[in-house]
Symmetry: C2
Subunit: 246 residues, 2 copies
DNA sequence: GACATCAGAATGTTAGAACAAAGTATTGAC
DNA sequence: GTCAATACTTTGTTCTAACATTCTGATGTC
């Protein structure tokens, strides 16, 4: 029961770390099906000898794949390719990106765009309650069908975003362009009936609920990036997520 | 601007790895407020010299804290304590555990308990569509107030769970006792109006929606552990979660 | 044939060393 | 005084080396 010998090419002149070069190529082998779930993986020592790399380097590459959930390691047994369902694919995406990816023609109508104080939003962003925040209310549609009402508050660092910016692009894309890459978010998802105003904006007829979500997003250093209070037509939208305790 | 010298005790006779002993004590210093967000952290070399540990060992301990989101490292600058909001605290908890922790007297009524085939559940668990699954329907209450209807399907390995087991304990606790520790789950959260039966079981009067959640859970090896289709009274329940892209 | 013992194979832990890269602070020239 | 070059600090990468721990399977005895 010997493992498959994967073809790997290492470029020692490249500025990208050896362990990462290796990790990417191994990762690709799992992704493209060269290695199937359950398949045994070449062991550390053999791999390091074959590729002329030290064991710590190979070990670190394998660790990256284990962290992604692509491989499972057991002491005394070996390393194997994990089942497809445990592969990690996290994303902190926005509705705009999701719709754009599906080719559903995302559109934005801006209802509000002004600097204000808001205690609830400030607290959620771990900022002083009297911090002036840019408050934005948008209706997001796919084609002619309104899907969601998005209320967001941004800290002072981003308060120069214009209405025009927001009409043509998603909020998260704008934040990324400004260097504020959100990597952590606290979300809370619930449901309730819409108000009369919400029914009008979302063109809801009959008895249909809203899916609500609040989100506080932060960058890697813990700086506040955005607080959002969103509501979606529950008929057209679900929140999908992956919980991972490894 | 020198960093605080933390008191750390390392027991080389202990079977617990040195890096983990160190990580736990450093983690505690952040948790109990000895180190505040933004505080500088003693650098790797100094710490390894002071504690008589090798740099790789210290480095691995620090890496553990970085992975938890407790510390932030930047090359050339140093290591600092991260803001409180980016600390990772993941949990794959069940409603029973949540209620018990809050002292809200969780109770369970079993409506169904039988072996059946269910194509949707089997597919969600990455099993053949004709796999016989243990199908369980429960009403979960806090005291006398019904909160949720929980429909779960379990793979054959767990199909010997009895009604009595389920009445006295949470499903996740039972699974853990049997060695099936779920570490990864795919969840989908939505909202809809309740059916007449659901209104009766959950004692819903008036126009109130349900929060729905489906979940497929797997252990570290990728083996199916559970598929659940739950609905909650949206008035009393929200799904809280933390998304993390680090 | 059933069970305990043991060897082998794999990952896990720890150490010591050297150099690379990035950011900060100081120094020096103009 | 301003600005650029330099030195220093700190984390990042890579290697060699040795021993520990855990699981599997083979060996061998009763």
């Amino acid at each position: 029961m010997s493992a498959q010998l994967l073809a790997v090419q290492i470029d020692r002149a490249s500025p990208v770390p050896l362990y990462h070069q290796l990790a990417e190529q191994l990762s690709a082998a799992v992704a493209d099906g060269t290695l199937q779930p359950g398949d045994p993986f070449e062991n550390e020592v053999a791999l390091s000898a074959r590729l002329q790399l030290s064991r710590p380097t190979v070990r670190r590459a394998i660790r990256e794949l284990v962290d992604q959930g692509l491989l499972v390691r057991r002491r005394g047994v070996g390393t194997h390719v994990a089942g497809r369902m445990v592969h990690r694919r996290l994303k902190l995406s926005s509705l705009y990106d999701d719709l754009a990816r599906e080719g559903r023609d995302p559109r934005t109508t801006i209802l509000e765009h002004e600097i204000r104080e808001d205690e609830r939003a400030a607290i959620a962003l771990d900022l002083p309650p009297d911090t002036p925040l840019l408050s934005i209310v948008r209706v997001r549609s796919a084609g002619d069908s309104p899907l969601a009402i998005l209320h967001n508050w941004l800290p002072p660092a981003y308060s120069d975003l214009t209405r025009e910016d927001l009409e043509t692009s998603g909020l998260y894309a704008l934040l990324r362009d400004r260097g504020g890459r959100p990597v952590v978010a606290h979300q809370s998802v619930g449901a309730r009936m819409p108000t009369a105003t919400e029914r009008r904006h979302l063109k809801i007829r009959g008895s249909h609920p809203l899916l609500t979500m609040t989100r506080s997003a932060f960058d890697a250093g813990g700086n506040a990036v955005e607080f959002g209070d969103h509501c979606y037509r529950a008929q057209d939208y679900t929140v999908d997520l992956m919980v991972d305790e490894r």
